[in-house]
Amino acid sequence: MALLEVRNLHVEFPLGRKTLQAIHGLSFALDKGERLGIVGESGAGKSVAAFSILKLIAKPGRIAAGEVIFDGRDLAKISDEEMRQIRGNRISMIFQDPMMTLNPVLTVGTQMVECLKAHRDISDAEAKRLAIAKLREVKIPSAEERFENYPHQLSGGMRQRVVIAIALLTDPAVIIADEPTTALDVTIQAEIMGLMLDLCRDHAVALMLITHDLAVVSQVTQKICVLYAGRLAEQGPTRSIITQPKHPYTQGLIKALPQQNEPGARLFQIPGTMPTLDDVPAGCAFHPRCAFADELCRREVPEPRPIGDHRVACHHAEKVASA
């Protein structure tokens, strides 16, 4: 059985008279120690999907339907108190901005010790020992001194490493990382992603990595979900999603990368823009931008269906895959 399974998730935000369907029937599963990438353009629903697993959706947003099964329990139905025992303990989260996690007026050490004591029955001295060991594990030099530092005394890359150390403190089964390196530059990004990869492997931690950077996702994850306008477009093993995409949107994303185009030539671009989620077209949400679209696509929403080892939400996936 999967460690974490999201089944037919629907998330909505009431907007005055209208309702915005942020997530529309999303399903995926994550096994112990498995690394999953969630990609898709800005506004596709990546963060909402992650937040809803941890029940962190801002009110009046709500999970309208579906299940989030973790360790045999449906997180969508448990009490807030039970959720607090899981969040930051069994399932940790890393945000794009380290300051979403770090409190600017407390030292790194205080925050780590508090986090540990909230979930474990241990002494201050033991908590400090564990915290410093974690700081070392994320390759923070002079960990004892850094333990006494305030967040503003650290560089951006170091702050994000502290956040990773905090996420690992309680030996979680799952880490959800929402754009953890988008604000950092390439060398620091490579260090942090390399570190996360090593740590997830060493401790058999499952990772859900949200990003719009396909290159990063291709190096770190084993499988990918591509979201488009709140729905699953395509899902499959990382390598074959990158090399043999079967959904026209995934194909477009990959073709648009500079490294997939002749240097200096015009880049391939997907025509048009993603619809806003309060105004999604009928039928397949991608049809106005799709070269394969026909009458059927304008009328009927395609359900994800198996094609080879992918699941693809496209009426014409066979044709697309061979195009």
């Binding site: 530059d185 390439v186 990869l197 396909l214 671009q269 823009t273």
Partner: protein, 327 residues
């Protein structure tokens, strides 16, 4: 061919910021050396890229070129004329010929002005003699040339996505027919499919208008695609400067080598990357000798004492004492 003609020439540029005692970090009287003796030339028609890690001085260089900062020492010449010491009146024509596109498309458009007002403003300022209908015609022509829908003109910035706003910023920069455009991370805030749109608009404008770009970015795959030459900066100095192809085929400076090894590859391989050793030094306490020596796997005694000059090695310029051996 005019492509060997120098358009912008930067010589021995230094820029220091004095942090006053009452600033937020309280480092009374400290000096940040953001740019340390940088010399480079940008030729007419080039897409000159500037890369390097966060805080190495890229934006400061761009802002100094645009006259938004005053150099601490050194000179900047445009088309052979020194511009860094000009008074406002003399500088005015250069404010038209040189335009800047900023990183954050959310902050760079005035939220209270319609798109049409935003585009008209620079034109009316630099060419006050134009009639209303000439201004309107120009707005429409430029909007169409960058593929923007003219129905956007009556709307306000908040109604647009990041990519659309950046295309509006590009249109605004092109309104006054500049020759030289400085773009500071113009696509970093956008996602892949939208990055492609904006890069295409910039490449089309280059081809149609014979523009010269100074393009600042973190994304090396964009440099490889878009750039003709590239300067790699580290802590306020240029450590390698080369034709884009030469640089990507075989970087010589150890920092460039590290930077290129950090580019995530799409070939299905897992992360491999030469881990950087040592702590990131700060622009407030520049290391002695070569600024990179504390993180350099090849550093020797001389690197801690002597500053390496930028010199010609293997068809490019490199500032490394051992550039002959790093290839």
């Amino acid at each position: 061919m005019s492509d060997s003609q120098t358009l912008l020439s930067i010589a021995n540029l230094r820029k220091q910021f004095r942090i006053t005692a009452d600033s937020w970090c309280g480092g009374g009287g400290q000096v940040v050396s953001a740019i340390n003796d940088v010399s480079l030339e940008i030729r007419k028609g080039e897409s000159f890229c500037l890369v390097g890690e966060s805080g190495c001085g890229k934006s400061t260089l761009a802002r100094t070129v645009m006259g938004l900062e005053t150099p601490t020492s050194g000179t900047i010449a445009y088309g052979g004329t020194r511009i860094d010491d000009m008074n406002d009146g003399a500088r005015l024509p250069y404010r038209r010929r040189m335009q800047m596109i900023f990183q954050n498309p959310y902050a760079s458009l005035n939220p209270r002005m319609t798109i049409s007002q935003t585009l008209e403003e620079p034109l009316r300022f630099h060419q006050p003699g134009l009639s209303d209908s000439q201004v309107r015609d120009k707005v429409v022509t430029v909007m169409e040339s960058v593929g923007n829908n003219t129905s956007w003109l009556s709307r306000f910035p908040h109604e647009f996505s990041g990519g659309q706003r950046q295309r509006i910023s590009i249109a605004r920069a092109l309104m006054v027919d500049p020759e030289f455009v400085v773009a500071d991370e113009p696509i970093s805030a956008l996602d892949v499919s939208i990055q492609a749109q904006v890069l295409n608009v910039m490449m089309d404008a280059r081809n149609e208008r014979d523009l010269t770009y100074l393009f600042i970015t973190h994304d090396l795959s964009v440099v490889e695609h878009f750039g003709t030459r590239v300067a790699v900066m580290y802590l306020g100095v240029v450590c390698e400067l080369a034709d884009t192809r030469t640089l990507f085929a075989g970087p010589r400076h150890p920092y460039t080598q590290l930077l290129l090894s950090a580019i995530p590859k799409m070939d299905g391989s897992e992360m491999t990357h030469d881990r950087m050793q040592g702590e990131v030094p700060s622009a407030m306490q520049l290391p002695s000798g070569c600024v990179f020596h504390g993180r350099c796997p090849h550093a020797k005694a001389v690197c801690k004492t002597d500053i390496p000059a930028l010199r010609d090695v293997a068809g490019r310029q490199v500032a490394c004492h051992f550039a002959e051996e790093t290839g």
